[in-house]
């Protein structure tokens, strides 16, 4: 009885996944009947609403790239640093303070992060550099970096905690300082967990929607300037699905094509994580 019940639970998750993929594919097929895959993937102009319409997705990819890249730049090293600090350097009272703060940080709704970007980070950036636009990729990147930070810190903390004490002691017994042990023994030993946390964070930043929709704006463009307004893949989907786009129109269908792209890249991230984790698994039996 219990076995059957549990089987149904497991089956449920498979069915939902398949259903989502099927829905995405079905609508996207309609889209790709009108726009070639080549035009979609390699086109440099994204103008789905106005004539002449153009469905080159690269401007959205560019916006997403800026946000993901910037978030990684901020979130990954800081998260790793926090994990290392909590394990090997922090006195226990500080650890007991930082851990719950990280959990609170992880529990803040993403829309609040978006507000924070708009009302705090962007004005702060504008203060530093007056040419910064109200909506800009940098502000979104910073806030997404903060958003993934607790996850990276917590996963790195776990990975580092799993490094056997005996291996660190071996380092100390050879006359290594704390920082030599931390950087040359602990981190390499925890590498597989650290990499996994990084890729999960990238994947999360890549798919993040609410905060970037609020902070990065809705101007699809290819730009080298992170202080300009851009549009990410996810923000485009929000824009279309909250607008009055008629169902069945080409721009309606386009969000499924974008959705497929998001799904494919996320899948790629996960596979990469799986592969790297296996490759660098060095600790444990």
């Amino acid at each position: 009885m219990v076995k059957k019940l549990l089987f149904i639970c497991a089956l449920f998750c498979v069915i939902v996944t398949l259903g989502i993929v099927f829905l995405l594919l079905e609508e996207a097929v309609g889209f790709f009947q009108q726009v070639s895959i080549k035009e979609f993937l390699l086109g440099t102009n994204w103008a789905p609403m106005f004539e002449p319409r153009s469905f080159g997705v690269l401007p959205l990819v560019c916006g997403t790239f800026w946000v993901t890249f910037g978030a990684a730049l901020i979130g990954l090293p800081t998260g790793l640093g926090i994990g290392l600090f909590l394990n090997d350097f922090a006195p226990s009272w500080l650890r007991n303070l930082v851990k719950p703060v990280l959990e609170i940080l992880a529990g803040i709704p993403t829309v609040v992060y978006g507000y924070f970007a708009l009302t705090v980070i962007t004005p702060w950036l504008q203060n530093l550099l007056p040419s910064v636009e109200v909506f800009n990729a940098a502000s979104a990147a910073i806030v997404v970096g903060l958003m993934v930070l607790p996850m990276v810190a917590s996963l790195c903390d776990d990975a580092i905690k799993a490094v056997p004490r005996s291996v660190k002691e071996a380092g100390y017994a050879l006359g290594a300082t704390k920082s030599e042990v931390a950087t040359q023994v602990t981190i390499p030993s925890a590498l597989s967990g650290i990499i996994a946390s990084f890729i999960l964070a990238l994947s999360r930043a890549f798919g993040e929607t609410m905060a970037v929709t609020l902070a990065a704006g809705s101007t699809p463009k290819i730009t080298l300037n992170p202080f300009e307004s851009v549009q990410t893949l996810t923000a485009y989907i929000v824009q279309v699905s909250t607008g009055d786009t008629p169902q069945g129109s080409i721009e309606y269908k386009s969000i499924f094509a974008v959705g497929i792209l998001l799904l494919a890249v996320s899948l790629l991230f996960n596979m990469l994580a799986f592969y790297l984790v296996k490759k660098y698994r060095t600790v444990g039996e």
């Binding site: 056997p164 005996s166 002691e169 071996a170 017994a173 050879l174 006359g175 300082t177 040359q184």
Partner: protein, 267 residues
């Protein structure tokens, strides 16, 4: 200071080995918070000898050993009082640098703990971070030869140290300690995780290493203590009960407690 200590050391004159000493513990007390693990231990370890620390589990022998290169620094709320002299310097005096002390007093642990990297890097890492200037290839070979491991690993220095058998891993850890060219090597039950033939190899190795290093070994195995050590210290409930030449401690112990322990009556 501690009840029970006075009458024990008074009823017989303590054993006095002849100098020079590699390590000299003077009235050492070690506590973890309120729990006292080592009580007033005074112990002189002559150079180029093997000293075995024996005693039942929890008697403080590992704690004492780990205090000799300040590995206890990493244990929260461990406090050490008294003096531990290395080359005549108290390693606990303010200003003593635990990192440089550990370069000269190496350690081999209970469970083999090679770094998760190649055999070669396991050997070279310690010397490298300490700025060793010599020939690393030569250092790898000499260290592995001295640890009686060279013949088994010569062709696979770039393979992971973790791929070796338990006994080989432990000899790799010894080679790694030797590569630092320390004065003293502390060994914390180095054979407890190994099979008898690996244990025998390591015991023979210890006898060879004695020429170059002073070795202090904690062991549960009384036969091992008899086979390898020149001097034996018996500890019980944190106190050093008896210390003397190994033959005397095992054959004509002065204390009844020692006699009971070495004859296997408890522990």
């Amino acid at each position: 200071m501690v009840k029970g200590i006075e009458n024990k050391s008074n009823d017989q004159r303590p054993f006095e080995p002849s100098p020079p000493f590699a390590i000299e513990a003077r009235e050492v007390n070690i506590a973890y918070g309120a729990r006292r693990a080592v009580l007033d231990v005074t112990l002189k370890v002559p150079e180029h000898t093997i000293v075995a620390l024996i005693g039942p589990s929890g008697c403080g022998k590992s704690t004492l050993l780990r205090s000799m290169n300040r590995m206890n620094d990493f244990v929260n709320n461990a406090t050490v009082t008294g003096e531990i002299l290395f080359r005549g310097q108290n390693i606990y005096e303010s200003g003593a640098d635990p990192v440089s002390i550990r370069r000269q007093i190496g350690m081999v642990f209970q469970k083999p703990n090679p770094f998760p990297t190649s055999i070669r890097k396991n050997i070279t890492w310690g010397p490298k971070i300490n700025g060793y200037q010599g020939d690393y290839e030569e250092l790898v070979e000499t260290s592995l030869r001295r640890a009686a491991l060279w013949d088994e690993v010569a062709g696979k220095l770039d393979e992971s140290g973790l791929a070796l058998s338990g006994g080989q891993q432990q000899r790799l850890c010894i080679a790694r300690a030797i590569a630092m060219d320390p004065d003293v090597i502390l060994m914390d039950e180095p054979c407890s995780a190994l099979d008898p033939s690996s244990t025998l190899k390591i015991e023979n190795l210890l006898l060879e290493l004695k020429d170059r290093f002073t070795i202090i070994i904690v062991t549960h195995n009384m036969q091992q203590a008899r086979r390898v050590s020149d001097y034996t210290a018996f500890m019980y409930q944190g106190e050093l009960i008896e210390y003397g030449p190994t033959d005397e401690v095992f054959e004509t112990p002065r204390q009844e407690l020692t006699r009971d322990y070495v004859s296997g009556r408890f522990g």
